[in-house]
Symmetry: D2
Subunit: 318 residues, 4 copies
């Protein structure tokens, strides 16, 4: 059994990680660290876990583990690793953005870097928007077919904004509402561009990205389009080939809808040609494939487990 | 024109009051007081008021007005009136619960106390749950027909919890969720009992009240039932008679639904007999008839205006 | 008082029209025609109208009116006018798309065609998406500044899909969901292009339009961007000038959110420059400014009333 | 591997059954029967199953199976079994209400009838409201402690109303709305009374049940209260004892909320004393513990599998 520790256990991504790991056939949770919740039952904080665990949050640390998940806020992972000496043989999966752009950690998008992830013990888990957008574009980058600017519009659920209540996550404000934030300058663009450049050297097309706050809890619904000379058959071939061995990326022939992926580790893509443009719809659950599910997928790869272990999750569907 | 001032202008009930008063044919807003928002455009804080007013929040006070609305939190109205000398001739409508149970202010439920309200310059605006529940029971109390315990279940929108973001108003938590709070002991029971006793002296039946947090922004949906020997015709007669001259209380023959009243000052009641029991469904918008709309109704009555002035509001319907 | 008749009274847009007209200070509703609801109380079908009217639906027609609103489905207005002889002096406002592209009716977008509307008795009320998108682009077209393709993404509420229950309006499917329909080919593009060409002769830029089904009942939230050499001051000047005398179009300096406009006849626009691109956010309530509110605005203009008469509607805000 | 067939494969409960069975470690789906969807890919109808199965719907039947699930509408199971000869050795789990009140099938509430279910090949799966309400009351009935009338209020998600779009499941109507239906006379009362009588012979207390249509897709949130002389310790002991060996019924010390159980087979109960009354909150997912999850639980019991096999489902939580 893989021995697992979790840092930052009280937040959304840690809760989601626990929901998955408690039923993972190959893992054992050694500790769940939290300064704010220390001593409490985990199921008193993540209340849906009632009946699934009698673990409590701890504020002490052991390194006698195989995998350590860092689930604190952005900036906290760097601090944590400065203050704590984690042995080299312990695999670290960092869910913050602290190590996504550097060279110390492997960027943990399995559909891009699977062989490197399998060999690595330091994984930077991608951002949620970044995951949805990259999975929509990687096949085009692989074949150097991003030859024009890309137009991206993506709506995210409220869990993407984290656990601290703020005005834009107040139910009275957010229900039945929509709003844009950080248009053209969202911080995830950096990691997206780096990945595209990895596959398509010299990539320098504009990524025009409009992020939107949606009135639902879970999910990212992204549409992406650009001019292309590829026809629809070429496009379908290219996507099918790229994702042939990627168990969580599914190509839908039907017009898709977000709830197909909510509560799963899937990314569903729909690719079609409209005039001169290819339109790609890319959908994930921001807390699963966009965070904790992908972290488990990365753990599976680093530990030599089946990639899908513990990740056959029932969709909410309704 | 009635000259109006508002204290506590940055909160939900003040915003709602402004939405109504800005189109009221007989009022002029003299000032909107707010310590936290002082100097800002009102339409920069209550953003839906864009284009309707160029007023700014002030932190100074003038008493050269006809009506003063107190929209601060509970406990703040007492403090405010201790610290500020409001002339007797200025009508005060207090939206907090500070004066609902005392003798200094008239309890401002027009369907109960209209003649007194018309003569008064100190009005304590009722609570939202209290409004919905009392309007469901007053006709029975009037005829001394509450002869058994009453079973009350009421679901409230998130705006009832106020503007400060807290865990139970976080969108990620509240959407698609339900939960009970303060079962059998909600603080509004006191004002309800006082009103029932006013009509039915010696009233001492139990009011079993289960308040529920609903996953919608606006509205209160209450069901009330009790044993009664009255038959359905007697019940309908009793309710029709009691509300004959009350423009905002409507008796529905059809099975009602909450959105009939959302964004209006209406209370829709549906009364039916099931076996030995009368079932009353009572529905209001907690911010309108349950707060600011009722405050305007009280203002209208105290100022000798048409009771419905400024209160013919379009329902949201969908 | 303006005498009004309504055809197709049982549907969403007729219900919304009634909600507005019943409180309009200058109109009297003479009849509400409906084949399917004939004989029923209007408030038994549009249940939120309880207490506001005792009118019933009729299946007979009188032409002794000033204004006739056609609220039937697309294709039905042509049939109706073939089968019924409406005198020339009766103003017709058609809410279907039957006459939007022809020459017989004036296209009833007041911000584009106000002088013609004021002189006309045949008005084709614009589509909801078309209204939001045109109001976002008209100032640029007026100055012939649409010099590149435009990227448009717009999310609509479920009321846009009409009253008949279908799979994509089933609550179990639509709640918490998003999906795209008719990408790049939505039928409203025709009326949009016609209007842009009216202001910018020879207009032939691509309008790349992604329509999205949103999980809310009311509202259209549109984002539009394109390359422009205009700087932000020039853009603001241009929009302020174009809308200086348009009471329902408001320019927001703040980042806007959809609920600012829900239940109102407003269109709120936010215009900003990002790099080489202008981003315009345009928001309306699809049933009000996108349908019945605009129809009343057109009625007001044709009848020589104040343009805003009956249209100072309280926003839902929450 | 248990060989499984499904009748009525296109509906909600069949879809949910497939979501569970496709990842059940001990089952193999032999056929999914549907007259309306025959020939289509299952994942084209239940779209979230993309990537999980290449099965298609069939309109032919084989009886070479271990378990047959009947997922058609109420009344259809009787017809099906009249028209089709299912061998005695095939276990039938009927999700309709056709056999719940007769003697031919065992009433499949495991927490009531586990030994009988384990010995039976004909199981009538309980109703969703009935499950939530019974699980709230069984421990009291077991000790003959239901000595007064019970007050029950329960809100259900829209999936309880089935797949056919009707006015009360139209998103435009149902979102942000609440309404009551069948007060005091809901059809599930019969099966509830029968179970209570089974444990408390001669049971004849009134069950005052107010069912409510909620504005969410999944879940039942029920509150139940009655007078009792038991104190809170006695109540807790009684519930803990009754559910000691029932893996899916959890007793929460905290005030619970519906999303703890959504997408799981759990029933979370909270029991507390308020004055003379015991208040029980009982929550399930209507499609899982209230339908298809419980059907799988029954299958597990009849086939000698672990009761929880395939039912450790990740909660949606948000």
């Amino acid at each position: 059994m893989i021995q697992v520790g979790i840092i930052g256990g009280g937040g959304y991504t840690a809760g989601e990680l626990l929901r998955i790991l408690l039923h993972h056939p190959e893992t054992e949770i050694v500790f769940v660290h939290s300064n704010s919740q220390q001593g409490k039952l985990i199921s008193d904080v993540h209340q849906d876990l009632i009946g699934e665990t009698w673990l409590t949050f701890t504020n002490t640390l052991t390194t006698d583990i195989d995998v350590l998940f860092l689930c604190q806020g952005h900036g906290q992972s760097v601090k944590f690793l400065e203050q704590n000496d984690i042995p080299d043989e312990v695999t670290i999966v960092d869910l913050s953005r602290d190590y996504r752009l550097g060279e110390e950690f492997i960027y943990g998008l399995p559909e891009l870097n699977k062989p490197d992830i399998q060999q690595s013990k330091r994984i930077a888990n991608p951002g949620c928007f970044a995951t949805a957008i990259q999975l929509g574009l990687l096949p085009l980058a692989k074949t150097h077919e991003i030859k024009d600017e890309v137009h991206i519009h993506a709506v995210t659920g409220s869990t993407g904004a984290g656990q601290s209540p703020v005005p834009t996550t107040h139910f009275s404000w957010r229900s039945n509402n929509l709003s844009i934030y950080k248009p053209f300058v969202h911080q995830h663009l950096d990691e997206i561009k780096r990945s595209l450049t990895q596959l398509q050297p010299g990539f320098d097309q504009a990524l025009n990205f409009i992020p939107v706050r949606g009135n639902f809890s879970r999910g990212i619904f992204a549409s992406l389009y650009m001019n292309t000379e590829l026809n629809v058959e070429q496009l379908h071939d290219l996507y099918h080939e790229f994702y042939a061995n990627q168990p969580f990326v599914l190509l839908s022939q039907q017009n898709p809808n977000l709830k197909q992926v909510v509560n799963t580790n899937k990314c569903v893509l729909h690719v079609d040609k409209h005039g001169d443009k290819v339109l790609i719809i890319s959908m994930i659950d921001n807390l699963v494939k966009g965070a904790s599910g992908q972290a488990v997928q990365n753990m599976n790869l680093t530990q030599g487990l089946e990639e899908t272990a513990g990740l056959n999750l029932k969709a909410i569907a309704f």
